[in-house]
Symmetry: C2
Subunit: 449 residues, 2 copies
């Protein structure tokens, strides 16, 4: 039998009622969806109907500014994705969670439990938290600097992995006659003592269906990329152009190889916010409709925080002048600053034009077109070394997700690029990833996947 051709991996990154900052103002958008479980159940089932690899949710443990003019992720992502486990049966369930504002024992316990209750569908998108304002909700005087955050993240991952390994697969004996409930020799303390944590273990949760949840990562600074190449099994990234996408792909795959890992076992998934129309004209009309609904006050505030100096209504018809300006923000802001500067310079955009360009993707790539055109761009990135799949970020919800599932997925399936049925029921299965063995299990006793 021939091996299957390389397959795309597609996740749905669900931002409340839509990624586009003006999606909430569309006539058909239901505002109450932001906190309504039925809205999210509908999205999860649509994504599962489309045979996507996973749904996933962002994590920002702080109320972001300027909520007056746009919705935000209002629900705790881990709790939300857990609640959706029962409404679905095959799709992966990925929650973002911060290594800066959690403790490793509790988080390992929750993810192992999610893996059990979802029968092997849990994934963790590891972040160190982008939004510095979060610190004030956790009694920190300041958001720790990136080096500190990534050192903590590294130790956090060591601890959680040891905890997930602390039960061997066959530790539960359940011999009613002996009597012997578990074999204590197959449950291991971890006795971790390090710079940030000391954790005795073992976890109280027996080893979960996937062994460990699938690890996703979304850092893009140097320490972020190092961390990702060490731990991640899939990498989310924002890449606005094919060229930048290829550079990132080549760079990260090479780093992974240098770390002694198999680059095929780490999927690179850029974001894609697709505005889909039956014809090209329809797609562009929908994009124009969204742009017409953007609120300049909101965009100006966002832009000011990216560039680090105030941009006002008076600037709308000018081009931003970066002469004598210096970026002083966090790296996350730094990379967006560089992006904005490049856009203004290359495309000679006024502030008004710039705001519209930023409104749809907030750093992620926006593409408007027909289902065939969307499939074409996906295929191009996938086959020319820029992506192993995509992180779909529907501009308006539920409509843009349904449009993708109903019109783009069948096109990708016709081209043989995407599964027509799930072949397994775990997230590792969908992603073609191995189930890791516990570090405490002797090779001989490790079960097959």
């Amino acid at each position: 039998m021939a091996t299957l051709p390389r397959q795309l991996h597609l996740n749905a990154f669900l931002r409340n009622i839509g990624q586009h900052e003006a999606a909430w103002r569309l006539p058909e958008t239901r505002i109450a969806g932001i906190t309504d479980i039925d809205h999210y159940i509908d999205l999860a089932r649509t994504a599962e109907r489309g045979k996507l690899d996973a749904i996933f949710f962002a994590d920002h443990p702080v109320l972001k500014g300027k909520t007056e003019f746009r919705p935000f992720d209002a629900l705790d992502p881990f709790t939300l994705v857990t609640a959706l486990s029962g409404a679905t049966s095959q799709i992966g369930l990925v929650s973002t969670a911060s290594t800066t504002y959690n403790d490793p024992y509790s988080l390992a316990r929750r993810f192992a439990t999610l893996d059990h209750v979802s029968k092997g569908r849990a994934g963790w998108n590891i972040v160190t938290t982008a939004n510095a304002d979060a610190a004030a909700n956790f009694g920190y005087p300041n958001h720790p600097d990136p080096d500190h955050r990534y050192r903590r993240a590294d130790e956090f991952l060591q601890v959680t992995q040891k905890l997930w390994d602390s039960w061997e697969d066959d530790a539960i004996v359940g011999d009613k006659d002996a009597p012997r409930f578990v074999d204590p020799d197959k449950i291991h303390r971890i006795d971790h003592v390090g710079e940030h944590f000391s954790v005795a273990g073992p976890l109280e949760v027996p080893r979960s269906p996937q062994g460990r949840p699938v690890l996703f990562q979304a850092g893009s600074s140097e320490p972020g990329k190092d961390f990702a190449t060490k731990y991640a099994e899939a990498i989310f990234t924002a890449q606005p152009t094919l060229e930048e996408g290829r550079d990132f792909y080549t760079d990260v795959k090479a780093r992974i190889r240098r770390h002694g890992r198999n680059p095929d076992e780490v999927h690179i998934l850029p974001g894609l916010s697709a505005i889909i129309g039956g014809t090209e004209a329809e797609a562009h009309a929908l994009q124009r409709q969204l742009e017409d609904l953007t609120v300049p006050d909101y965009g100006l505030e966002q832009l000011s925080s990216i560039v680090g100096f105030p941009v006002t209504h008076d600037d709308l018809d000018r081009r931003l002048d970066f002469t004598d300006r210096q970026d002083t923000g966090t790296h996350f802001i730094k990379s967006r600053y560089a992006l904005v500067k490049r856009m203004v310079h290359n495309e000679k955009l006024t502030v008004r034009e710039l705001l519209l360009r930023l409104s749809g993707g907030r750093g992620h790539r926006v593409f408007a077109g027909t289902p065939e055109q969307v499939a074409d761009t996906i295929e191009e990135w996938f086959t020319t070394g820029a992506a192993d799949g995509f992180n779909l970020i529907p501009p308006a919800l539920p409509s843009s997700l349904s449009a993708f599932v109903d019109h783009v997925v069948p096109e990708l399936q016709r081209r043989g690029l995407f599964r027509t049925e799930y072949t397994g029921s775990t997230l590792r299965g969908h992603l073609g990833l191995n189930r890791p063995a516990s570090r405490f299990t002797t090779a001989a006793s490790a079960p097959a996947c």
Copy 2:
């Protein structure tokens, strides 16, 4: 219309595959149930079929000793109860969570989210964590002493309540034309700064259906009772005899009154582990079957840790001698120590007999009888000032829960003591508790419940 007679409140406290330490050894017990979501879905639906107020789960963030000889709560309770939200539609969902090993922002965020995704069914059983071994999983050199734990718990509750209040009910405007997504004047920072926490807020979760989750509490020391009378809306307690139950009930209701609260708005719910048989003989045979399956090694270890000195196989046919012994344990252990000493003294029990007495309830009351006899004892406690309802702790799962729902519930309904249908769909509704107003809402703008 006449007001309804006072109604019982019944929760199902679900301990994995059964509260009785030997339940796992019964031929019909499915060992895999311990981590199997289908087992818990079945239990939750049975409880909902019985119109119980809530299901609830314990929290012990550490693997307890002697797992070799008996099962334990293997899953994170909050994650488990969240996963069950979609499998049920009316029953309350209560998770225990520790104020010692959580931070208030994250916990408030998770409970508010659970309240949204369950449409108003969330409850929090507040504990300061009984098991001192948990400290080693969180980098604490020692489990903090009770005074410290309850001071922290008090401040923890202040913070979480402020966070749940931080959004007024009508903060989301959703005016697409204005445009105005929220009214920022109805979202409040809390700027809490205290001994243990400093938390800026607001919460990012809009106010949830119940306003705040229902607060349960299970402390029984002096600071524990003070805390409960200040915050709890329902109190779980272990009371072995009717006399002790009445004393506790009278004491706690008086304390509540002294705190200026309405004692009818705080339900006192003792534990009850009912072994049910079609006839009295059948019930006693089932109890004997369970007792015959207990493992002395396990019981001896448990007993040693309660009394604080080693009790061995050689002691099985003697009576324990407490002369010259002093209790040195935590209060939790202290109250169990006193209980054991009293039992040995009053009933002249040998160690072997004592172990059997302790095997079923682990401190909670065990009662074996017919459905009518179980209903009789419930009615007696309920009508003579010892209980507002019960915390049912089924000895074997799922069998003892089904037996209660199929045979005792109809008997209680016939007697007019228990609802035949849910009259609302929130946990506050089931418990007859008011929905609290946000402290930031002026009285005039508060919505009706």
